[in-house]
């Protein structure tokens, strides 16, 4: 059965005001097109969870979609600060809940595995735990040693961008895998955005590359270039120029509003956005070609 729907329909059906959203992807495969659609639909009151909020949540918070942030590193990767998030936190407008990367990912791991908590070795750095009561300590029942634990994170919705999937949502990913798989299994509903919809036979030709099985996917949306200004390994490069430009744009709420008016509200979809970027940007972001060696699965 096909789960193929348009991105606006998938967002409308599965994401509601006040939901806990995990838009996944560690630097790689960040679903910006989905965030822009959420902004266009005027969804509000979201709790936004991501290890690295990145520009995607800076934009969503600036657009008024969120009431709370759950994160583990709030920076513009390789550039500096996420100015809108920082301003919203410093002014007290945005609630937040903070972890280290491993704490954050361990929460997803517990959620994805159906476990009551995940244990971690202590790090000796206890200031964060003193501010976030979700960090607890238990005693190891075998040795009596202290173990740090975090509870499951079970988002209402995960949005996950992948290189290719079939219409049932069997999804293949290569390059940086981040927390893609954990976010899919931890969440109640999963929206997949996909660079290329491929025949089921393509997926079956290389089953080891399937990271997310269709059984946990609710909607499959064909959205080429969804991840710009982040990237999709082998499809297009990270737009570092835009990450630098955002540092300027995000200096004031007014210039962010002008950006949103032009690039989000003023456009119907990702195709129009990609066309508006223009041939120079397309050229600059070409990925080139470096193919892997095929493997033999055998004929049995």
């Amino acid at each position: 059965m096909t789960k193929l729907v348009s991105l606006p329909d998938a967002i409308r059906t599965h994401l509601h005001d006040g939901d806990l959203l995990y838009a996944s992807g560690f630097t790689h495969l960040i679903p910006f097109a989905a965030a822009h659609e959420i902004i266009r639909q005027g969804i509000t009151g979201l709790t936004l969870a991501r290890a690295t909020p990145d520009l995607i949540y800076d934009q969503m918070v600036a657009a008024g979609c969120a009431r709370k942030l759950i994160f583990s590193y709030m920076g513009n990767p390789g550039v500096g600060s996420l100015r809108r998030l920082r301003a919203a936190i410093e002014s007290g407008e945005l609630a937040w809940e903070e972890y280290s990367h491993f704490g954050m990912i361990s929460r997803l791991r517990a959620g994805a595995s159906g476990l009551p908590f995940m244990p971690m070795k202590p790090t000796g750095a206890e200031d964060l735990a003193s501010k976030n009561p979700q960090y607890r300590q238990v005693s190891d029942p075998y040795t009596g040693e202290r173990v740090v634990v975090v509870p499951p994170l079970t988002p209402d919705v995960a949005i996950i961008h992948v290189q290719r999937a079939d219409v049932q949502g069997n999804a293949q990913v290569w390059g940086i895998l981040g927390e893609q798989q954990l976010a899919a299994f931890a969440s109640q509903r999963v929206i997949l955005t996909v660079e290329e919809i491929v025949d089921e036979a393509v997926i079956r030709s290389d089953p080891n590359r399937t990271v997310i099985p269709g059984m946990v996917v609710d909607a499959v949306c064909h959205v080429p270039y969804c991840a710009h200004p982040s990237y999709t390994q082998g499809y297009y490069d990270r737009d570092n120029d835009f990450y630098l430009a955002w540092d300027e744009i995000s200096k004031t709420q007014e210039s962010v509003q002008a950006y949103l008016d032009e690039w989000v509200y003023g456009l119907p979809d990702r195709q129009a956005y990609w066309e508006k970027l223009g041939p120079e940007v397309h050229e600059r972001l070409q990925a080139g070609e470096r193919l892997s060696q095929p493997v033999n699965y055998g004929e049995y």
Partner: protein
């Protein structure tokens, strides 16, 4: 710029690179640590293994990576794994020799604040937060910190323990049971600080032309000088050539 002259960034990269050993497995960050690792690989440590928190092992980036998840880290790497796996199988399990750390504040005992200036609940300046730093500082065998030497960056006590060094000194770190050895050196543009037997950072080396008084003036606690305090060897022409011509020709970080 010729090889007789070099800037602060080049001085820090070169001195950080010299701390790395051949066959070290290094948890790398972008910017200066990445340059230091690549310089070490092209000089005295050809078998260095670079791993990145994004889940890349044995990276050989063909270009200068501009973010921690740059696609060039993946192309040609020996392995890619999930973020959970990199933190558990590699870091928590004890498979990382060296971690690089930075932060807004580093204190007398090598504790780092990368979280907040002022009160946590009502931040004066909200900083990015831990990322991987909390676990790297605890579990890597050795940690190195690279930072410009300014008084505001070196307070006697940090406002917030994002990651630990030697806590309050003495056996405070050992009593937490963390497996890693903690910060082994802080490389700055003035010199190199190292922990003494009590875990207090003391001046272990000064760069050429720098005096103790200048370093002490830029440090927020009464800085002790190690009995065997050295002067660092200036960057060689070859080190500078590799940095400038091969690693960062656009001078993004140097």
């Amino acid at each position: 710029m010729d090889s007789q002259h070099y800037n602060s960034q080049e001085l820090m990269v070169v001195n950080a690179a010299r701390l790395l050993k051949d066959h070290d497995v290094v948890f790398v960050g972008v910017g200066i640590p990445n340059l230091a690792c690549n310089l070490a690989m092209r000089t005295h440590a050809p078998h260095l293994q670079m791993i990145y928190e994004a889940g890349v092992i044995g990276a050989q980036p063909a270009r200068l990576p501009l973010s921690i998840g740059d696609p060039s880290l993946v192309t040609g790497a020996t392995a890619v794994c999930s973020m959970y796996d990199i933190f558990s199988l590699y870091l928590q399990r004890g498979n990382v020799d060296v971690g690089f750390l930075g932060g807004a504040q580093i204190d007398q005992f090598g504790n780092i604040n990368a979280t907040v200036i002022g009160d946590y609940d009502h931040p004066k300046v909200r900083l990015p937060g831990s990322g991987g730093a909390m676990e790297i500082a605890a579990w890597a065998n050795r940690c190195y910190i690279i930072t410009p030497h300014q008084k505001r960056r070196f307070p006697a006590r940090v406002d917030f323990h994002t990651s630990i060094g030697f806590l309050t000194g003495g056996d405070a770190r050992a009593s937490t049971g963390v497996r890693g050895g903690g910060p082994q050196a802080v490389v700055t543009d003035l010199g190199v600080l190292k922990p003494d037997q009590h875990g207090e950072l003391v001046l272990a080396a000064m760069h050429p032309g720098v005096t103790y008084d200048v370093v002490a003036e830029h440090t927020g606690w009464p800085l002790k000088k190690a009995p065997d305090c050295q002067v660092t060897e200036p960057p060689t022409a070859e080190e500078l050539r590799i940095l400038r011509d091969e690693l960062d020709p656009q001078r993004i970080y140097i």
